[in-house]
Symmetry: none
């Protein structure tokens, strides 16, 4: 098996372990065992538990960003692009439950690693902020930033809620979220 493939396999297994137990409780023994690789192998590939974790975060984050980026074409109308991106976001969450869980959970906890994860989140927030500002309304930079964070937080929470409600159709959730985002933008602009 080529090295690249093995690396991906290890990352998959590691992601599952992190999602199941959290960073600290996941053990390198378990990960190596489930990947059918010796532990020194894992260390030779990733250096340390922390680096392995970061590599997983990085890969998952990049996948998410890529999908969001390519979800909408430049020629689409703003509303269509928003809807497309939200749809893509929920699709990603559904397809990568482990990755999503790790990304989201660790965004909030374990201080030492938070910075790396925060970076990913901040890129999403930045995109949302741009979107808010490009709506053409009169919104201060500060308000745009704050509202962008609120929008992202709402999306995370909504996604988690939906993940545990298999019966709710994705389209419905997309609808809600689209409307929420639109309303949020208007709310951010409304004068005193």
């Amino acid at each position: 098996m080529p090295r690249a493939a093995r690396e991906q396999l290890i990352l998959d297994v590691a992601g599952a372990a992190f999602a199941r137990h959290g960073y600290h409780a996941a053990s390198m023994d378990e990960i190596a065992g489930q990947a059918d690789v010796s532990k020194p192998m894992v260390y030779s590939y990733f250096g340390s538990k922390e680096h392995l974790y970061l590599a997983y975060i990085e890969r998952t984050g990049r996948q998410l960003l890529d999908r969001l980026e390519h979800a909408a074409g430049a020629e689409d109308l703003p509303l269509e692009r928003l809807r497309a991106r939200i749809t893509e976001f929920l699709a990603f969450v559904e397809e990568h439950r482990d990755g999503w869980r790790v990304l989201f959970a660790e965004a909030a906890s374990s201080r030492p690693l938070a910075d790396e994860v925060a970076d990913l989140r901040s890129r999403i927030v930045a995109a949302v902020r741009r979107m808010v500002q490009e709506a053409g309304l009169e919104i201060s930079a500060e308000a745009a930033d704050g509202m962008a964070h609120a929008i992202v937080g709402a999306g995370e929470s909504l996604a988690n809620w939906w993940l545990e409600r298999a019966s709710v159709p994705r389209e419905l959730v997309v609808d809600w979220y689209v409307k929420l985002v639109q309303a949020a933008v208007v709310a951010a602009a409304a004068g005193p």
Copy 2:
């Protein structure tokens, strides 16, 4: 020092440790040391690391709920009550940074303890859901539930953002969040 006071002191110290390192990485040795108490003392008071953690969550959660409950009088108008509660929420977050961090962080991670924390969050969500439903608009139970989660998630994210922006006046954030909530309720009701 009376026992009750020492218990509170230990909880404070424990909260700081949990906030700094997360549940797993925080060590009982560190907590006992910083509380200027021997480890067996901590065990005699709280039984185990897990119980100590739960005691902290419980205390912090109760404080938050109490404040939210008493923030608004029954005679206030709905909008006033909403604003009062949000103000209180942000005040709590500001005053109890450690507690908030632990509550919020562990809501998302560390599987074994998540249940206890999830319980607190779900009570807040339930209150928000009732609020959504009592707005008098035509909203399905499902939509109300989903939107309540989105609102809570937005609030959490907004609070965290604000915590790192000392210069932003609380009133401003309250304003945004109030508007966001109102908009969210309307959005949940809007037909296709």
Copy 3:
């Protein structure tokens, strides 16, 4: 409650704890708690866990020896005295299960305390040895000593067996043991 009575109560409770968990696993906390006495009390009375244990052994051993001594009158025939003593022995074992268990169990294990317990046992063995020698047969001192140990060991084992066989009448066991002892004495004397 007078001190003497409290001491006895503590000893009783301690004996039960030692019988249930063994010396090491029995905890002073448990003993003090069950005797409804504070721990410093126990220490003031007995000094240390080891001393408490020895005090229990001592009391129980003395009780056993007393009963064996007074079981038979000097005017009885040798066989009657043997039977009376064995009967008394089994009665003691039945009435003082905890004490017997501790006495017997610790006779074999826990090195540091073995000496004290061994002393009690050796007094019983000595009595048996005298009995063997007084049988009037030609038996070397060594053989008498060895056989006395064998006889005592047989009795211990038989008593334990009987303790778990509630349906077996004591008289029957006494009979067996009397015969065994007699046979053993004869066996010890038999030439090559």
Copy 4:
């Protein structure tokens, strides 16, 4: 050093520690140190202190049973077989003082582990009981069982006595014990 050899070495060292201090007081630190192995090594080999202990009991017990079994050939006369087995038993006790001490001591104490040891002892008792019953005398099942326990107890006690009397030749003790067993069988059969 191959793994198998190291396992045996650890077992030897552990046996010595258990014999010296008893199960509870023996520490894994001490055992690992004396075996010149790190503690995690011991855990990787045996899993836990309890498992280490059981492994030792198991090994020692099997050795004893094996030796008793092969001590006598099927073609030997009953008396010769009895003598051969007793000789073997004493030889084992002499050669494996630690093992014998642990086996014998823990047969009587420490509740949680007693079962495993009791099993070994009960197999020996069963063999003795069969021997008693095959003597051709009229003996009730109950009497045979009780007497078998008495015989085993006598042997244990006699062996311990002998262990501290280096000057007493083994042959002599064997002789006594053989006669005692014979006498015991007859005693069990004798009518009222």
